[in-house]
């Protein structure tokens, strides 16, 4: 089979915040960049998010996710980045070629360097009835509501009281669904106070220390049986939708296929490609960034993206060593600022365990 072959300097896989920031950094220093994303829209998770972000002004705090995405896309286009949508990268061969399934068919790209910024996928938990229609990932529900304007159901139960569970609950309320409760197996709520307050104010009951036992329904979800882990009492929720917000894991199959070493870090969502502080994944010309390099948050993804873009530009000779070092130092400082608080510190420690001497 003879597929069309294209050469390029830098190929970025994934047009989420990480990929777009990598592309901007490299393109501004003169590297020709192609960004490939299988979606019809650039922005990754950002364009599904209608809430205002937290963090520093620099990372778009106060803006809504899709607004941050629009700014990044505009920056990329100004820097001359070639963003190709509807383009799935279906292979990354050990020889360094990418196989792309694009609108015009399948082709190969041979880049000098690749940034893998493919994001994360949602985890789930299994219980009797977990395959019933009406049960979906919270991110899936978010896509349905915020992108397609369709509710996942009228009465929604949320599993998981982390940030994603809380935010999706609020977004479902905004769209007119009835959120009948948020169940959480651990005894505390790990999401931010602000998100928690918003759902509380809307009167959504939160059930820490409760575990899902089973889901019932004939042709689709009708009810969810939940057990109170302290008292042992069971509670029945009538619901036509159950959204699972029980964590995400890095999606970095392409790195594994290329031959990168995969390591397991619970705090970062599971298996991820080993990488150093410069976001180099241990093989010549291979970089990772964002959730694919460990699940954190959008602001971290942006900084890691910048880091990988700077490193790639330096190694391709488009950025001077000293300039690259100075820029990386600034990014490192901002990353350290972002990885604060009990969860941030745990993630920082997990990252550090990869490369700190």
């Amino acid at each position: 089979m003879n597929l069309p072959l294209e050469h390029t300097a830098l190929a970025v896989v994934g047009a989420g915040p990480a990929g777009l920031c990598a592309a901007v950094e490299a393109a501004r220093s003169g590297v020709p960049v192609v960004v490939l994303d299988e979606n019809e829209r650039a922005g990754g998770q950002l364009f599904k998010q209608v809430h205002r972000f937290f963090g520093s002004r620099r990372h778009g705090a106060g803006k809504r996710g899709y607004e941050i995405a629009d700014d990044l896309i505009a920056e990329c286009l100004r820097a001359g980045v070639d963003i190709r949508l509807g383009s799935s990268v279906i292979a990354f061969f050990p020889e360094g070629e990418l196989m792309v399934d694009g609108p015009g068919g399948v082709y190969l790209v041979r880049p000098q360097a690749v940034v893998i910024a493919t994001g994360a996928s949602e985890k789930t938990i299994a219980f009797p009835g977990w395959t019933l229609p009406g049960i979906m990932g919270a991110g899936a529900a978010q896509t349905l509501v915020n992108v397609h304007g369709v509710l996942p159901g009228k009465r929604v139960l949320i599993a998981g009281a982390g940030n994603v569970g809380l935010i999706v609950s609020y977004q479902l309320l905004q769209a007119g669904a009835d959120v009948v409760g948020i169940v959480e197996a651990s005894h505390g709520v790990s999401g931010y106070e602000v998100h928690l307050d918003r759902v509380r104010r809307e009167g959504v009951p939160i059930y820490p220390g409760h575990r899902i036992i089973s889901a019932r329904g004939r042709d689709g979800l009708e009810a969810v049986v939940v057990k109170d882990l302290r008292g042992g009492r069971t509670v029945l929720f009538e619901a036509d939708s159950l959204c699972m917000a029980v964590g995400m894991s890095p999606m970095a199959e392409l790195a594994a296929m290329r031959g990168c070493r995969m390591v397991f870090r619970e705090e970062l969502g599971g298996f991820l490609p080993w990488h150093d502080e410069k976001m180099r994944a241990g093989l010549q010309g291979v970089y990772v960034a964002g959730d694919a390099a460990g699940v954190e948050e959008a602001s971290v993804a942006m900084e890691e993206g910048r880091m990988s873009g700077i490193s790639a530009a330096e190694e391709m000779g488009s950025m001077k060593k000293r300039q690259a070092a100075a820029r990386r130092a600034a990014v490192s400082r901002r990353l350290a600022d972002l990885r604060r608080g009990p969860y941030g510190e745990a993630r920082m420690a997990a990252k550090c365990s990869l490369y700190c001497a």
Binding site: E38, N39, V50, R64, S121, E122, T124, T131, L132, P133, G134, I135, M136, G137, G139, A140, A141, T143, L144, V145, N146, H148, G149, V150, L151, P152, G153, K154, Q174, A175, G176, D219, G220, L221
Partner: protein, 102 residues
């Protein structure tokens, strides 16, 4: 059942695309041009996209980003099409694989 969001608190009116007709197991259904098939089905309260081949259990969209393949249906005769990633087209035929009595 209608699960469409009319007015959204942040996004405003969510009217979007002109209406087209698709045929789901032969039954005509209104959909909005450009939306994925799975979203159009959900909007009408249709949550089952296929039946599992061995046990005949109903399955429905789970990830909405083309990863889990639970939403795979037969579209215009082509099997295993991920309906969360495929936009509706006027006159499209969408069939539920493994439907009892099929």
């Amino acid at each position: 059942m209608d699960l469409r969001v009319g007015r959204h608190a942040v996004l405003g009116e969510m009217e979007g695309g002109k209406l087209v007709t698709i045929y789901v197991d032969g039954v005509p259904l209104k959909a909005r041009e450009g939306e994925p098939i799975a979203a159009a089905l959900y909007a009408h309260g249709i949550r089952t996209t296929r039946y599992s081949p061995r046990l005949g259990e109903p399955r429905g969209p789970f990830c909405m980003i083309g990863r889990c393949t639970e939403c795979a249906m037969t579209v215009d005769g082509e099997p295993n099409v991920r309906t969360c990633m495929t936009a509706v087209r006027d006159g499209m035929r969408v069939d539920t694989p493994g439907r009892p009595g099929e």
